[in-house]
Every structure is written in C-alpha cells, then in structure tokens.
C-alpha cells in the first residue's frame, strides 16, 4: 500500500512563486561563484584566453595542424567547453550541498541543479557577448547567421542539464561520482577537437563523444564559412533530448530517497 500525500492548494499562484524561487537560487549561485575574486565574472572570458595561449604554444608547432583563423577556431570551441565543464563541476554536488534547505523546506529538489544551470547560462551569455565584440579583431564576420547561436546555446543548456541532473542524483548515493567526474573531464577535453583539427581525433571516438557535436555546431556558426548542416542540428537535438530523458528518469527514480542519504 503506497499512497502519496494529497497535494494541498496552499498557494494560489505557485508557478509564479516557483519562478521566484528558481530566480533566488540562481542569483545566490551567481553571487557565490565569484564572491571573493577580483575580476569576478570576467574569469569566464579570461580562462578560455589562457587556454588559447597554451594551445598556440603547443599546437602551432605541428605543421599538419594548419587551420584558417586559428584563434577564432580555438576560442569558439573553448567557451562552449568551459560552459559545460564549469556547470558540471559546480553542480555535481548541488544536491548534497543544499542538504540544509532540502531537509527543512518543501522545495522541489530539481530546482538546485536547475538553478546552477541558469546561473552558469547567465555567465555564458555575458561571456559570448564580450567574445563577439573582441573577436571582431580576430576575423569574426557579423551576419544574421550569428543569431543561430541562441538555439545552439539552448540545446547545449538542455544537454548539460540532463548530464548535471544525472550526475548530481547519483552523486548523492555514491560520492565517488564527483571525484571520478573530475578525472574523466581532462580525457573528454582532449578527445574533443578544440585546439586541433578534427581528423586528429579517431572518427569512432569523435562520433561517440556527445560534446563533439555541440562544439562543431557552435564553431560552424561562429568560425566556419559554411553554416552547420541540418543533420548536425538534428543530431544535437536528439543528444540533448536523450540526455534530458536519462537525467530526469534517474532523478525521479531516486528523488524520494535523497533526504535519507544527504
């Protein structure tokens, strides 16, 4: 005999309140992220630039790695990668670290990973805006095609949300996930063609790497002369949907037991 507690009609406009709640949590995340740093959000922009220097130092020596407009090529990949890397690193522990709130308030637990994504998306969009301005001097051509970056960011956001929800739910029960994720990431980074030509990564590995598709899509919009193909959009859409489905399936199977473990 398993019965759910009947939901009560407590709030007249609980959807509005939930939006306020997600907003408040996202704002908290943004404040906390750069609370004690000097340049704050600009790290979102400096970090890719520092990596760019490393890439230039390492990969420009390889003669076969000749890419037109290398700087734009690398940075367009890097900003997407760092969005993914930041958001997963920060939110893998988002459910555990909110234990105090989860144990005392009736807030949907999904709000915690969700607000991490929203906070980071906010940063990401600002970073892209700065990037779009600066990259003018590095050969970025302005056209309406650049607006395609908006659906691209949305798809990547949905994909990251799925991964985040998956990781943070499992991490509640097996803290090993958080530690393991930190070590898997560099591998994933070098298996994604960010600083070098795509043919340097074995095709089989590249096709299995979901992030590859999003990097390729973003780069197609920003760097390449030909816009990304419809099939690439389709692939990204399917990956994002699959990631969200798997993430939410795992989350909803586990969510009733979070409180007993955190």
């Amino acid at each position: 005999m398993r019965r759910r507690i009947q939901p009560q009609t407590i709030y007249k406009n609980s959807n509005v309140q939930n939006i306020h709640r997600i907003y408040a949590l996202s704002k908290r995340n943004i404040i906390l992220r750069y609370k004690n740093s000097l340049v704050g959000f600009f790290w979102g922009f400096f970090k890719p630039l520092l990596y760019l220097l490393i890439f230039i130092a390492v990969f420009s020596k390889i003669p076969s790695n000749h890419i037109d407009n290398y700087i734009l090529y690398v940075t367009s990949g890097l900003i997407f990668w760092f969005f993914f890397s930041n958001v997963t690193n920060q939110s893998v522990g988002s459910i555990i670290s909110s234990a105090g709130l989860i144990k005392s308030l009736d807030i949907p637990v999904i709000f915690f990973p969700l607000s991490e994504i929203i906070g980071e998306l906010f940063n990401f969009i600002l970073t892209i805006a700065v990037f779009m301005v600066v990259m003018y001097w590095f050969g970025l051509t302005y056209s309406f095609r650049l607006l395609l970056i908006i659906p691209c960011i949305l798809l990547f956001g949905v994909f990251s949300l799925g991964i985040t929800v998956f990781l943070s739910s499992i991490n509640v029960f097996f803290r090993d996930v958080g530690i393991l994720w930190g070590t898997i990431q560099p591998a994933l980074f070098y298996l994604t063609p960010i600083g070098y030509k795509e043919d340097l990564v074995p095709t089989a590995v590249a096709t299995l790497n979901p992030i590859y598709y999003f990097i390729k899509l973003g780069r197609g919009i920003i760097h390449d002369t030909v816009p990304p193909s419809a099939s690439l959009w389709g692939a990204c859409f399917c990956i994002a949907a699959a990631s969200l489905l798997i993430g939410s399936f795992v989350f909803y199977r586990l969510k009733n037991q979070f409180i007993s473990t955190i």
Partner: protein, 242 residues
Amino acid sequence: MAADHLIIFDHVSVCYWQNNMGIHSIKDLITKRKNPFQSKTILSDVSFTVGRGESMGILGRNGSGKSTLLRTVARLVQPREGKVTVNGTYAPILAIGAGLELELTGYENMRLLLSLYGKSRRNTDPIKAIVDFSELSDDVLRMPAKRYSSGMLARLAFSISIANEADILIIDEVLAVGDQGFQAKCMDKIFKIKDEGKTILFVSHSPGDVLKVCDTAILLESGKLTHAGPAAEICEHYNKLF
C-alpha cells in the same frame, strides 16, 4: 472531523535507505548480490491527530524518529505506508545554520529564504520584522554569516522562520542555543503564536518547556508511538525512560 483536524497521521510508516558504503559493500554486491542499500524503518505504524489551535509536544530519546516525524508532516518525506493529511501551511524552523548560506550576508540570507518560502520580493515588511526580532545590528547583518557566532545564527534562523506566517509552526530544538534573553523572547513569541490560534509542533528534550508550551504530547520509542495524551502525563512517562 477533517475540518478541525489540521494534521492526521493514519498508520504511517516511514523507511529510509541505509547504505553500508565501503569496499565491503562492493564485495557483497558482487559475491552475494547483496544490495548495498538496506531499507530501514524509522517510523512504524504511527497514528495521531492534531486539532486546529492545539500544541503538541513530541518527546523521545535521540534517534527515536522525532525529526523524521516532523519531516513527514512537512511533506519532505513520503510515507511507505499509511496516509498523512495536513490541512494547512507550515513554517519550518531551521535547525541551527541549516538553510543559511554561510558565505552570504545576513540580509542576503533573509532575501533568499523569504523567496524560497514563496514571499514576494517587493514586500519588505518581513525583512523589517526579522531585523527587529533578531536584534542583530545592521553591521552584523552586512557580514557574511560564516563570521556569526552560533547564538547569532540561531537568532537569525529563528527570526526568519517565524517571519513566514503559516498555520503550523514546527519547532525542532532550536531553543537550546541563544542567550537567556533571546530564549525568553522566543518563548514569548511562541506563546503569542499559540494565542493567535496557530498549531505548534514542538520537539524538545526539556519536559519543562513541553509542559509550558503544549497541551498534548506524544512519546516515541524507536519509531513507535508508545504514549499519547495530555502533556503532563507524557512528560512523566518520558522522565521514566531514564
């Protein structure tokens, strides 16, 4: 009957997953196919009702399931069996520091928690009420909460909780910290809330406090409800446990 009963527990059982983590659990999983997560019963077959305007004390040893019971009332935990009915809104009392973000300042914490309670951000009255009640100075409230003493944290947590007006006030042993003046103030506030006809669930290890605040009480022993009745009677039973 349902109208004047704010909280109805009907043969409620609650189970938690208990994990025995570590290398042994992996060995057992592989060799004996033993699930590393064991279901552990925290509350079994608990039934009681709380009427509107009634104050109920919950007594019991450490680990007897008091906090789990409060979480079940607050609908944070789903019962495995039985039915829980709560006809009203509840205000959780934050355990010391729980829910407060230590990196944020006092003001930022207030705004965050009030938003999470579902209060409008434009309405600044609750903030004033919190500041007044907590008696913390403006300087203190502009500091990150990590620099607060435990008494200051308790003041902030209690003040934020009571700013959230609700039908049921849940108090889980918060009065243990805080200086004497603040404790007395909290007690006054609790009596005031009681006079307003609100319902109070009061967990405490001090039978004296329970007698002061509560009309009725229940006694939990290892997840089972052993005694229920007038507060005075239950406090005697509780004292006999030791």
